[in-house]
């Protein structure tokens, strides 16, 4: 089977059902779709183990914060690559910040360990089942997760800078 966006999407939907695979789009040639927390681990395992797809290289993953989206404040992006077919794929999972728990992928990919620690450090996403979920880049006694959008880079109490002059 030739791996095209339609073929792969069709195959995944057939396996996991339309209610679990939603919002497929193609922003930059890489197929992107959403799934949910219950499916993500099974889905990535399936992509890795399926003989036809062989999408078995975890390129990267990262968190994103959308404070305006109700109950979908946090997003976890997974990008996978099939080295055999040279096919890339992006999966997103949105979930509420009040319950920031995701299943870990450390049992599938060794690479997931530090990437998940990074996402935890930056966004406070808790990966259930992770063997060593501690901060990786920031100091251990930090009490917040600095990449969340409510922590702006500059000191917001400053009054000597007028934001309108800086296009903000």
């Amino acid at each position: 089977m030739e791996l095209t966006n339609e073929n792969v999407l069709g195959k995944i939907i057939e396996q996991f059902g339309e209610e679990n695979i939603t919002d497929a789009m193609n922003p930059d040639g890489i197929m992107t779709f959403q799934t949910n927390r219950q499916t993500i681990h099974e889905l990535i395992k399936y992509l890795r183990d399926d003989k036809e797809l062989q999408i078995s290289f975890l390129t990267t993953m990262c968190g994103v914060h959308y404070p305006e989206q109700k109950d979908k404040e946090l997003c976890m992006m997974y990008q996978l690559h099939s080295l055999r077919h040279n096919y890339r794929l992006r999966i997103k999972v949105y979930f509420p910040i009040s319950d920031p728990v995701m299943p870990t992928l450390t049992d599938l990919y060794a690479a997931a360990n530090w990437m998940e620690r990074e996402a935890y450090d930056f966004y406070g996403i808790v990966f259930a089942g992770h063997p060593n979920l501690i901060r990786i880049l920031n100091v251990e006694d930090m009490e917040y997760h600095p990449m969340l959008k409510q922590y702006p880079l500059e000191d917001q109490t400053r009054e000597d800078k007028v934001n309108t002059f800086f296009g903000r």
Binding site: L83, A110, Y151, Q156
Partner: protein, 416 residues
């Protein structure tokens, strides 16, 4: 939203803290020694801490700590116009900054939908391959130093200076180059730059052959590096290895061939691969890659197309300075670009280049503003260092040093 400062309370966090894997305490044993290697050990070439548990000279376990020079590039990038992010990328892998720069520029061009002319692409290829040579040259010569051979380092370090001379002629800076622009190059290659590249192509092969001769068949070097820090192809893939470190295990994955960018498909070159994935293989793969890079530079240099060195993208590419003084349109564009007033389209883009030590990826989410909403760097060093513990276990301390330098982990890219 911006002024809100509440802290997020996370349920279950405490119990995660309690379950921390305090490996060293669990395995505490009277016969073992705990040794703190780093954070600023002269043999680690950067700020890496490793708490080793040693049984005599043999490493039983290691706990790596990173983050000592974490500079929050991803956070800073969310506040900066696309233009001003380039200097951040210089400082990631500072041994090959042009690759980082151009990789970033290409990602932004992909987001903006800018096609750049052939000449600019070829100049980029020349610069990126020079950067790859200087990256591999440092890695391999330092590997020699770590095994006790200082001479090789002295042989080739002059050549790195010569590459820096070329950078200086092209953009004015030597280390943190910032030489490209969104839409092409900042300026065309000057006759002097072309001359310097030509001279480099004539002189360098001899130097590199001499360096290669000194180490590849050197008994001491072979004994010190063979079967040291080996990793299987399967584990390497699971860890997400790319670049020379993956190719040393026998997997011929190279972004330049798999997903060609910047006209790499025009050039004829091979992908050197190893077989065992040990330190010696990584050394050989990098050595061979330098020859391939030279081949690419030669082809690009000979066939350098005529034409413009930048795309016609007035919204993103700074107009020539002389125009700015005379022409109102140019002045307006200049101002808007410098102040970052021009919004990028809404979109999402991932672009990766073959960096000095692997697939260097840029993932940009743009919400249509002047800054990226989210910029994530896929940094190969971050991935290699994770496997370091596994690779040095059971080996000797002196071997661990060689493994680290052959992995070519750069602290700036690791921590970003």
């Amino acid at each position: 939203m911006a002024t809100e400062t509440k802290t997020v309370e996370l349920d279950g966090l405490e119990q995660f803290r309690e379950n921390l894997d305090l490996k060293l305490q669990d395995k505490h044993n009277e016969n073992l020694t705990t040794l703190n290697l780093g954070p600023t050990h002269p043999a680690t070439h950067g700020i890496f801490q490793n708490i080793l548990q040693m049984n005599g000279e043999v490493i039983v376990d290691a706990v790596p700590t990173i983050g000592y020079i974490h500079r929050a590039f991803e956070k800073i990038a969310e506040r900066r116009p696309f233009y001003q992010i380039t200097p951040l990328t210089d400082r990631m892998n500072y041994c090959s900054s042009p690759i980082n720069n151009m990789g970033y520029h290409m990602s932004v061009e992909k987001l903006l939908g800018i096609e750049i002319p052939k000449r600019a692409q070829y100049i980029r290829v020349i610069m990126m391959e020079l950067a790859r040579i200087s990256d591999h040259l440092i890695c391999n010569s330092i590997l020699g130093v770590d095994s006790g051979a200082f001479t090789g380092f002295l042989y080739v370090m002059q050549e790195r200076e010569n590459i820096y001379d070329i950078y200086e002629e092209v953009c004015g800076a030597r280390l943190t180059t910032n030489m490209g622009r969104i839409g092409g190059m900042e300026r065309d290659l000057s006759p002097k730059a072309l001359h310097l590249i030509g001279e480099f192509l004539k002189r360098f092969p001899k130097v590199w052959a001499e360096f290669e001769k000194m180490l590849t068949r050197n008994r001491i070097f072979i004994d010190r590096t063979t079967d040291v820090g080996a990793i299987s192809a399967e584990r390497a893939l699971s860890y997400g290895f790319t670049g020379p470190n993956l190719r040393a295990t026998g997997v011929d994955y190279d972004v330049r061939v798999m997903n060609p960018y910047s006209s790499y498909e025009d050039f004829d070159f091979e992908i050197p691969v190893g077989s065992k994935g040990d330190t010696y293989d990584r050394f050989l793969v990098r050595n061979a890659e330098v020859w391939e890079s030279l081949k690419i530079i030669e082809q690009a240099y000979k066939n350098l197309p005529e034409g413009s060195y930048h795309a016609d993208a007035p919204h993103y590419y700074l107009p020539p300075k002389q125009e700015v003084y005379r022409n109102m349109e140019a002045l307006i564009y200049h101002f808007k670009i410098v102040m970052g007033e021009i919004d990028a389209p809404v979109g999402e883009v991932y672009h990766s280049v073959e960096g000095g030590n692997g697939e260097l990826g840029f993932y940009i989410i743009s919400d249509g503003g002047r800054t990226p909403y989210r910029l994530h760097f896929r940094r190969p060093c971050f991935i290699y260092y994770q496997a370091y513990t596994e690779m040095i276990k059971g080996g000797q301390l002196a071997d661990a040093i060689l493994t680290l330098s052959s992995l070519n982990v750069i602290a700036g890219e690791l921590d970003a």
